[in-house]
Amino acid sequence: MVEAIALAHGWEMQHDPDVVVIGQDVGANGGVFRATAGLQERFGSERVQDTPLAEATIAGMAVGMATHGLKPVAEIQFMGFLYPALDQIVNHMSRMRNRTRGRLSCPVVVRTPHGGGIHAPEHHSESTETMLCHIPGIRVLCPSSPVRAYGLLLAAIRDPDPVMFLEPVRLYRAMRQEVSDDGRALPLDVCFILREGSDVTIVTWGAMILETLRAVALLEERHISAEVIDVATLSPIDIGTILESVAKTGRLVIVHEAARNVGLGAEIAAQVAEHGLYDLQAPIQRVTGFDTVMPLFKLEHDYIPGVQRIIDAVELTFAD
């Protein structure tokens, strides 16, 4: 996936001179995960800039650049370091268009690695996407494959409004997939149906795709046919696709790595209860991280929901 991200950067910077990249170690180093590898050589050190070490600087400077003619793609090195930037994101990026009645706007993409499971040091395994989904005026994306990373990043850069682009670290190198470098963007604000099924709908995003697909294969052996939906655009969420699926299957399991309390799964469950209650044949199940601090890596695989928890949740929707 990380190569797909670099490809998307390259295509867009080639075709749109206003696109610039800012962040720490994005230049000569090509990004700590190599997501911006080779860009500074191709496009120079003004368009691919290493900023001083300050996340508020990165976010604030992005606001200034975006309101005045550029399209910054800003990297925050890890989601755990996003928080100094939140002031700029919440108080400015998200509401620039609204508070100036459309006169000024922020076509910014803020990219950041998301989630854990890679043996990383403390604070490097965060998944606090809910915090961002709660902010009106920004989009929150989370791709789950190299192809979708490429297409959604292009869409994000081209979108005239701010986009938080959360990249699951566990997927950076997990999948080998042919990505056509053709500059075609994928649509925003829609879910992707990864697998059609008839017995249960499983909704997820990010790296949990891996556990979900493994669980689905095991469920298939037990003659349970699962439909898998990748939310992709976490906010604003395409609830229509989810409702249509639940109308078909009658059962819903939501899987996310982030903590349970007020997680995005709660919002999905509330909307399905509002609009699809009569289609449900069983209570909605959520399989999530615990409401604890993300542990250091000795326990991270006890925190991140495993295949068995997903299977058990699906079975629960069939329990009498």
Binding site: Q24, D25, G27, A28, N29, G30, V32, D50, P52, L53, A54, E55, A56, T57, G80, F81, Y83, P84, H119, A120, P121, E122, H123, H124, R260, F290, D291, T292, V293, P295, L296, F297, K298, L299, E300, H301, D302, Y303, G306, Q308, R309
Partner: protein
Amino acid sequence: MKTVAEFSIRYRQIMGPDGSVVGPLPKFAEDVSCIVDMYRAMTLVRVFDTKAVNLQRTGLLGTYPSCLGHEAAHVGIGAAMRPEDVLAPVYREFGTQLWRGVSMTEILAYWGGDERGNDFAVPRQDFAWCVPIATQTLHAAGAAMAFKIRKEPRCALAYIGDGGTSEGAFYEALNLAGSRALPAVFVIVNNGWAISVPVAAQTAAQTLAQKAIAAGIPGVQVDGNDVLAVREVVGDALDAARRGEGPTLVEALTYRLSDHTTADDASRYRSAREVDAAWAIEPLIRIRRFLIDAGVWDAAKEALLLEECAAKVEAAVTGYLAAAKPSTDAMFDHLFAELPEHLHEQRLTARRYGSKHSGH
């Protein structure tokens, strides 16, 4: 126009790179045994550091930030602090921490993915390792404020890297500490690099020490590879803070001889020539030379020291490798003073699904 303010930044060095004395010796140097102690500590941390990198390379430790080249800065500061003072580290200052009583096993536990590493048995009030850059500087200012209010004769000392001085929190901490004359000392370990970004790209300031001027506090530079100079300058700063004269910003100049962490590859962004030049002036050379010239050190003592260090490190590694994987309850035990009721069920769920092995 008339000049309304001027500033100057002074630089302190006592030992030249070859170990010769180039500045007046401080008072504490009269007792050569304390210099020997510092040298022993510098050697121990280097041996430990080498082993830790090796553990990572052989799959027994997670990502680890080597402190190679920083031994003088770290040990000098450790030796300047008092036990009742409080340290707010970043994540690389193992020399200071070992001096203050953090165990090697604790360091390995933390970088081995176990929070028990942060539960220091000895320096109970020192801050834990701090990954979000520069946030620790405000913590130190806050602790110093507590000492002031509670009238405790203690100081807080915060480390920060050259990259960290670009963060807002750093400026805010200096400003606060200065404006309230807090008993705090801020030490910038300027090792030339913030991962792949050189200092020149961080700031237009000629020195990092002069960021103190904007906060109205004294700023001083010191040769970070000169353990005597570091000890002296930081010692003076701590004394001044203890006397109620407010904080000082110290910039210790050194070089990051290692990669940023074990997963970094510094050859991508800096030249071998630069690294070789830095090796030539590394901190252990000069202090060893100084002690040999003082007649208190020789090859036999060196060999013995290395043996002792190796043994201590081995013992620590054995302890680290023997530690049992924490149970899933560890995720819940210290979330609050008392776990709220609604989380009891999650604790049970975690137990039920708990894996037997660490990792995947």
